[in-house]
């Protein structure tokens, strides 16, 4: 449209090994005085290139604000944002080579599917022929060729979702931001789109930053996850790290089902140590990054890493079976430990298995190797 095209051209790539996005001590506050809200609180993150990176947290945790800071709709109160090593903190959204898939798609209702997809390239001043061929390629990528000339109001929610993806991918952004894009879809469609998104990410090689409050979605799709709460990033790691080795109570609680046990810290070397349970049994446990203090600690155990036994002698935990819930593939056993703490065990159901445990029984609980994770707090 103008002689000098805004957008990607203005951000030069200076170092090829810099992360896709570096967030350096970024804070964002809204309002002032007593009403001041600290939406993002001193967050530092490095999002690698070609990564499927997820910001996971409950609503109001600051994940969407962080995404809007990367997009440029908000500007940080403190700190810096770098895109491939270039400071973009002060750039308006239309000068950032970053595109967004909005929560409710935000498709332009007065344009056709093709016009929506071509809009970004048109604004960048690309030649008409290039726009047309890119639009066709994008329509093919999201399998929407036959709906090219439809109005966006004439297509279904799932199709709108695909158009929103195609529109955001068409200018080939360095980073694609996705703000809970699947939350408006029904269960079946959501599952399909999860696979579709993974496919698009690997086919395009674009860095995806995905915002969700759905822990299962985060675990299945992400290369790495940052768990957020109250404006802070609590833990960053692979889905396995987050699930098996939660460092904080909030992370353990938010991602999956968890049992908390109080224990006494024993000796520790590097990332493993030994903890003594109230029963007197000492077990090895993995430690969170940054080490732990000695004395009283909290240990987490995932329900599927424990096993119910009939005999109680010598078992690390014993208690009374209070309730069993049958789930088809597995059964959840709710046990009240002698210490008074609740504990849940999840065991897979097998054909030959007879219901060996009845409510009211006194049961023992075995813990697998490396089942215990010590929390930081």
């Amino acid at each position: 449209m103008h002689g000098q095209a805004p957008g990607p051209a203005t951000v030069a790539v200076n170092s090829s090994d810099a992360p896709a996005i570096s967030i350096e001590q970024v804070s964002k506050t809204f309002g002032g005085g007593a009403d001041m809200v600290r939406a993002v609180d001193d967050v530092s993150l490095a999002i690698r290139r070609n990564e499927f990176f997820t910001l996971l947290g409950p609503s109001g945790c600051g994940k969407t604000t962080l995404l809007r800071l990367i997009a440029g709709f908000e500007h940080p109160t403190h700190g810096k944002l770098l895109l491939e090593g270039v400071d973009i903190s002060a750039l308006p959204p239309y000068q950032r080579p970053v595109n967004t898939v909005f929560q409710n798609y935000a498709l332009f209702p007065h344009m056709t599917v093709a016009q929506n997809i071509g809009f970004g390239l048109e604004m960048l001043g690309r030649p008409k022929a290039e726009i047309a061929s890119t639009v066709d390629a994008m329509l093919k990528l999201v399998r929407m060729e036959e709906l090219k000339n439809r109005r966006t109001s004439q297509i279904s929610g799932g199709q709108q979702q695909r158009v929103a993806l195609a529109r955001a991918l068409a200018p080939r952004p360095k980073v694609l931001l996705l703000d809970e894009p699947l939350s408006a879809l029904d269960f079946k469609l959501r599952k399909d789109m999860q696979i579709e998104l993974k496919r698009l990410q690997s086919e395009t090689g674009i860095t995806f930053v995905f915002v969700t409050h759905d822990q299962e979605e985060a675990l299945t799709m992400s290369d790495r996850i940052a768990v957020m709460a109250k404006g802070k990033v609590l833990q960053v790691g692979s889905p396995r790290d987050i699930y098996d080795r939660p460092a904080e109570r909030f992370v353990a609680n938010f991602v999956g089902d968890t049992n908390f046990l109080s224990a006494e810290m024993g000796s520790f070397v590097a990332s493993t140590g030994s903890v003594r349970l109230p029963s007197g049994v000492t077990l090895s446990a993995s430690l969170p990054e940054g080490g732990v203090r000695s004395g009283k600690v909290t240990v987490v155990v995932r329900p599927e890493h424990a096993r119910l036994t009939a005999e109680t002698a010598g078992k690390p935990l014993t208690g009374r079976l209070e309730n069993t819930v049958y789930f088809g593939t597995d059964t959840h056993y709710h046990v009240r430990l002698i210490s008074g703490e609740p504990f849940m065990v999840r065991m897979q159901n097998t054909r030959d298995q007879v219901a060996r445990f009845a409510v009211g029984d006194t049961v023992g609980i075995e813990l697998g190797d490396a089942a215990l994770q010590v929390l930081r707090d």
Binding site: G7, Y94, N99, A106, F108, M111, M123, A168
Partner: protein
Amino acid sequence: MSEASDIRSRQLLTLPAVAVITLFGVLPLLVIVVYSVLKPATYGGVVWQVTPQAYVNFLFQQDIIDDTLHFTTDYLQIFARSTLFAALTTVVCLALGFPTAYFMATRPPGQRNWWILLITIPFWTNLLIRTLAVMLIIRDEGLLNDFLIWLHAIPKPIVILYTDTAIVLGLLYSYLPFMVLPLYASLEKLDFRLVEAGFDLYATRGQVLRRIVLPLTKPGIIAGSLLVFIPALGAYVTPLILGGGRHLLIGDLIAQQFGSGRNWPFGCAQALILMAMVLVALWFYVRNATGRVQHG
């Protein structure tokens, strides 16, 4: 309730409105149409004799001596001037009203109703009183000139009153709320996430305005423009008071035919010509504007 009686009760419900429109809309219009093709009586009123004289008079002047007809643009000029003033008023109203409406629509929802209330305050007072108040402000020894002289911005009063500027200022002041309210209504419905999506897709502020905000608020722009243009075209009080009657406008011209002119048929004909002009302009405007929306 059966379908037939349902339809009948719905028809009954529209009856009061139909009666009012017929009695006070269609009947007076019929009177105007009929009177426009009759002969004027000497002291006002009409003589029941059919003649196209009123329409001929609009374009031709009868020579006093030999009764031949000469083409004259006198009345066309008045219509053209009125159209120009109304168009100017509409454009300036749009230019001033759009940012105002945008501002109102982007306030927190609780505040918006207060802004609407403020916009409607002028309606609480009679138009004539308000126009006279404008006169007090812009006259040679009025508030505006006194203030500018006190500031030493000007050495002597600027003559505004009884000029074309005064007329447009007055029209602008009278009709601005009619532009702001429909614009606000459509801007308030605008999904501002679309604006963000535009910025995200590399559109600058100007491009977002042209490609996203304006096309999506077109219904409001059309409604506002019509609500300003049509009454401004036939405005009577404002041009009369602020323009001092130096330049005749349509409203004043028509009023004259029923007053000192004592030519009721001519007044009726002028009113109908004005109406025809508005209808044609409207048809082109709406067709053009909605067409553009569809082509995005």
